[in-house]
């Protein structure tokens, strides 16, 4: 390190000779902070998304590094939000990367006192069997006057407002074909 570099490393020197007489800007910057680069600059990729919380629909930019979400920012291009996010939207990186998120199927048998492990494929198969059995057991073909009912009141579902349109479409399509009527979501609360 030469003397000149050493002197220029002093914030007070930069403050006197530079354009930052109050020492609140570049003059006070350490070499460490000067070298810092935003996570968004070094991300491997970025996708356009939408905030998952309320119904305003703020634009999000989701940054990915090493196959993991590294940052979520407001999308300045959005004419709705103009780059802004509220505390929830701004915290949504923690929502998706939280260590509290369940990543494994959990199973609780009738009268069981604890959770157990279960393989996802096995769980899917067991659920399918239960749907088929409940449907068969509670099937109503016609009413007292012979009008068609072709339905089951033995299977119900709740939720949809946090899901995608495509997901709601498949839920409705499958349950309707199976004759399940009591399909409800947050719009009813």
């Amino acid at each position: 390190m030469g003397v000149r570099t050493w002197i220029e490393g002093w914030p007070v020197y930069r403050q006197i000779i530079g354009n930052d007489p109050l020492g609140r800007g570049p003059a006070a910057k350490s070499s460490r902070s000067a070298e810092l680069v935003a996570r968004t600059e070094t991300a491997d990729s970025m996708v356009r998304s939408v905030c998952p919380y309320c119904g305003v629909g703020c634009g999000q930019r989701v940054y990915v590094s090493d196959g993991k979400v590294s940052q979520i920012e407001g999308d300045p291009d959005s004419p709705i939000s103009r780059g802004r996010l509220c505390p929830k939207g701004a915290a949504s990186k923690n929502l998706v990367t939280s260590e509290l998120r369940q990543q494994k199927v959990r199973y609780r048998r009738p009268y069981g006192t604890e959770w157990e492990d279960l393989d996802l494929d096995t769980a899917m198969d067991m659920i399918a069997d239960r749907v088929i059995a409940a449907r068969a057991e509670t099937w109503e073909d016609v009413d007292n006057e012979g009008h068609p009912l072709r339905r089951t009141l033995g299977i119900a579902s709740l939720g949809g407002a946090t899901l995608d349109n495509e997901e709601n479409y498949l839920i409705k399509k499958l349950f309707t074909a199976m004759g399940a009527l009591q399909i409800e979501n947050q719009a009813r609360i």
Binding site: Y53, S81, R101, T113, M124, M126, I132, G159, T162, E184
Partner: protein, 861 residues
């Protein structure tokens, strides 16, 4: 708005910076109030009295936008001479049947059309038929007698005037606790800022829907906005701020029992035995408007569901649709679970143990299933009720006595899948996928596609006719990736619709045909894949396009950003003013043009008059802007569709400490009740014992949390920002009850008792109502027993009493008692509640009477 929709609120702030006045009407002073021009505290549950006061102010001073009102609303239409108003029948309209607690609507009809009112209103209530009218008007004949001088004593304008004549500033003060000067300040600002050159916007959040008269709250707002010419014009409207990322989408493409995609009603076993009867009930032959093409919309849906199996010969598989027989809504289902009628339940991103009213009933229902599937990001209370719910503490439930088999399947987050959300303005926005979901986490698209695939495999050899609908289903979506994720874009293409022979995506629902040549899963979304392009994925920066920003995402229908925007021009098609120019008729090119996609047939001139006998779209005149309404008009008076009266009327909430100052009829005479011992309702006047629960409580959101907390109590930063359940009380009430700031209090209703930390604040102030002081307290509803921060659930305090149109519960107002200190624990808690119920006279009923007037005497105001 600043609390629950902060980023949307930037536009309100921008308007304020440009000189707009903002009034915040809310029981509690919030971050919205802090930034508004004025905060108007109101007694919870009295909004119709307040807004009715504004209607009266407009009419008494003739401040309505007369040219708009005559041309675009039903103000001039003459109503049946059999009609009797609440002013004549002390809080009831004509046609009330006390036994059915429902109305015969014949006397509410337009003159000469009384037959149209012959409707089964009990079934309409049971089946939430009101929701089916969300995107269009209820049935009405296209032609009606009118008096455009507005002088006929039975024209809507005069009826409206009489109905609201007693909603004076003095009455508003008596009912709502709002000082006369404050009320007049709002009324003056609203009317002065409306007309040719100016428009005023009414914004509500969906707490408005959580009342026994929720639909009528919104209708009162709509009446004001129609009278002032604030509908279909820029800067006007009645704007609902919805609380979930795609709650609009999940209503349009509904996971709701009474609807099929695009607001087609689910068939009813008695009313719609055949395809033609079902279609005609939507199409309503003889009526004006775009529902005239309902047969096409219905055929396209069935064709999208059942593909080649759906043919004209078999009515496109109409026989495969399950039929309603009554109420199959959320609360009925929960009571059915308690009664052991439901075997299996799916919870997909919803947490009813915390988020739904009457949490205790919710959990008791979950505890009495054969099996339960919970799909969520986090382990929520609705998955763990069997081991750590409040009923385990009281000894009512124990894991080794709970029979429910529970599957918890972790869900993919919004960045781990692609698809569309529809936000509050009907804007459909595509999300790209950032990463693969971890571990066993999967999207709902994956779960339901594969569940359907496995079920179809298992049933493949079934000879049973009931399985044919499952096997005939079109269910062949392409999959890709390590988990065989179905292609969301393929599903969106099906929702959009396509030409069956070629697969070409349709560009507009006007291309849909009724012969099976086209198929489309949700007619109002037709165009989202216009020209084979995913229009919802459009991301042209806002700053590079007009202020309407038509090239960001896609709005249904047909990318229109402002509904009914034909009303932004005068009857001759000219902008009402330069300042409010939006959509207008261009004489030279012979078409409608403007900043937005015109919500009108593009080349139908303003001068067009339908020939005699025209129906459907052809019957809409060139100056009928409300193109989905049966008469093309905005409705000040609603002859059908509403079940509790053609005009909004102030009724007290189902639980209120106050006798209705306006009528002997205390609460909504058509409200939906569940009279069961496990759904006790606190007593209200005129019955005895209402003093047992003397305080009013209301609930809302905090900026830092989201709904039942499943997506926020689990997030570190948010948990730290709002770490604990609390109850806000005024300094006056704190003194009266001996509550100390940051100390404990418990809040009691007939259903539950919960404890919370006390926050003494002048954000709440006692209101003077009918000469006495009414104290209101406020609680956030985000807390539950799991997550990083925990607290007791305020929704446990509510019972289930519902709005009759949409079967939404009254969970924004109730009565309670409050005591200092912590609540009793264990079995003592049950004794404590039993004692309250005994003192309130509600051990196993009786239930508050629905009718509290004999309908004859008229009290003087």
């Amino acid at each position: 708005m600043a609390e629950a929709h902060p980023v949307g609120f930037q536009w309100a702030m921008e308007a304020k910076a440009r000189g707009a006045k903002i009034f915040h009407v809310d029981p509690r002073f919030t971050r919205t109030s802090a930034l508004a021009s004025a905060h108007v505290p109101i007694r919870a549950g009295t909004d119709i009295a307040f807004l009715g006061g504004i209607v009266n102010y407009i009419l008494r001073n003739e401040l309505d936008f007369r040219e708009y009102v005559i041309a675009y609303t039903n103000a001039a239409t003459i109503v049946s001479e059999d009609f009797r108003d609440t002013e004549e029948l002390d809080g009831l309209f004509s046609g009330y049947d006390a036994e059915k607690t429902s109305y015969d609507q014949q006397s509410w009809q337009y003159q000469g059309q009384e037959e149209a009112g012959r409707r089964d209103t009990v079934t309409e209530r049971e089946t939430a038929a009101g929701l089916g009218y969300e995107s269009h008007g209820p049935p009405i004949s296209g032609q009606a007698r009118r008096d455009e001088t507005l002088q006929h004593p039975r024209c809507v304008y005069q009826i409206l005037k009489r109905h609201y004549a007693r909603y004076t500033p003095e009455m508003v003060e008596r009912v709502c606790g709002i000082a006369r000067e404050k009320f007049e300040e709002v009324a003056r600002a609203w009317t002065e800022n409306s007309g040719r050159d100016r428009t005023t916007m009414l914004v509500y959040s969906v707490g408005w829907t959580q009342h026994t008269v929720g639909v009528q709250y919104i209708r009162t707002g709509a009446i004001i906005q129609l009278l002032l010419g604030n509908v279909g014009r820029p800067g006007g409207g009645v704007l609902a701020l919805r609380g979930h990322a795609s709650i609009q989408g999940s209503t349009d493409i509904p996971t709701l029992f009474d609807l099929l995609p695009g607001y087609l009603p689910k068939p009813h076993h008695a009313s719609h035995p055949t395809f033609d009867e079902w279609v005609d009930s939507i199409r309503r032959p003889g009526q004006k408007g775009f529902w005239g093409n309902a047969r096409s919309y219905a055929v396209n849906l069935l064709k999208a569901y059942w593909g080649d199996a759906a043919t004209p010969e078999n009515d496109f598989c109409y026989g495969y649709l399950p039929r309603m027989t009554g109420d199959h809504g959320h609360y009925q289902t929960v009571f059915d679970m308690i009664d052991g009628k439901v075997k299996g339940y799916f919870l997909v991103g919803q947490n009813p143990a915390v988020g739904s009213a009457h949490g205790r009933a919710q959990r008791r229902g979950l505890a009495n299933l054969d099996w339960l599937v919970v799909r969520d990001l986090f382990m929520i209370e609705s998955a763990t009720f069997w081991k750590d719910g409040p009923e385990v503490e009281t000894g009512e439930l124990a894991p080794d006595r709970c029979r429910t088999e529970v599957f918890f399947l972790p869900a993919a987050s919004h960045v781990e899948k692609e698809g569309t959300f529809t936000q509050t303005q009907r804007l459909v926005q595509w999300r790209e996928k950032a990463v693969e979901p971890p571990g066993d986490c999967r999207s709902e698209l994956w779960f339901f596609y594969h569940l359907g695939r496995i079920i179809r495999q298992k049933l493949a050899a079934s000879p049973s006719p009931r399985d044919q609908a499952v096997l005939d289903l079109t269910w062949d979506y392409p999959t890709s990736g390590p988990h065989d994720e179905p292609c969301a874009e393929a599903v969106l293409r099906e929702i959009n619709g396509y030409e069956v022979a070629t697969g070409r995506p349709l560009s507009s629902f006007t291309e849909m045909t009724a012969d099976g040549a086209t198929a489309g899963g949700c007619w109002i979304y037709c165009g989202v894949f216009a020209d084979g392009v995913n229009q919802a994925a459009r991301r042209k920066p806002g700053r590079e396009q007009s202020w309407v920003a038509p090239e960001w995402g896609w709005a249904w229908p047909a990318n229109r950003r402002l509904l009914y925007n034909r009303a932004s021009a005068d009857p001759q098609g000219r902008p009402w003013s330069e300042r409010k120019r939006y959509v207008w008729w261009d004489e030279e090119s012979g078409e409608w043009t403007g900043h937005d996609v015109p919500d009108f047939e593009k080349t139908k001139p303003p001068s067009y008059r339908p020939p005699d006998g025209a129906t459907g779209v052809a019957a809409l005149a060139g100056d009928d802007p409300f193109i989905m309404q049966g008469d093309g008009k905005g409705w000040l008076f609603a002859p059908t569709g509403v079940l509790d009266g053609p005009l909004p009327t102030h009724y007290e909430p189902a639980e209120s400490p106050v006798r209705n100052p306006l009528y002997d009829q205390q609460a909504s005479p058509a409200r939906k009740t569940y009279q069961r011992p496990d759904n006790p309702i606190n007593p209200s006047p005129p019955g005895p014992h209402s003093q047992v629960f003397p305080y009013v409580f209301t609930t809302a959101r905090l900026t830092e949390h989201h709904t039942a907390g499943g997506m926020s109590r689990t997030v570190r930063y948010l948990a730290e920002l709002q770490p604990e359940m609390f109850v806000e009380v005024s300094p006056e009430l704190a003194v009266q009850l001996g509550l100390t700031h940051l100390g404990w209090a418990h809040v009691v209703t007939a259903r539950a008792v919960i404890e919370a930390r006390v926050l003494v604040t002048d954000r709440l102030s006692p209101l003077r109502v009918e000469g006495r002081v009414i104290h209101q307290v406020w609680l956030p509803y985000h807390y539950g027993g799991t997550g990083l921060v925990r607290g007791e659930s305020v929704n446990d305090l509510f019972g289930a009493v519902l709005d009759p149109h949409v079967l939404i519960q009254e969970s924004k107002v109730g009565t309670c008692d409050i005591r200092p200190g912590r609540r009793p624990t264990g079995p003592a808690l049950l004794d404590f509640l039993a004692d309250y119920r005994r003192r309130a006279g509600i051990t196993d009923g009786p239930y508050p009477p629905i009718v509290t007037t004999d309908g004859s005497t008229n009290r003087e105001a």
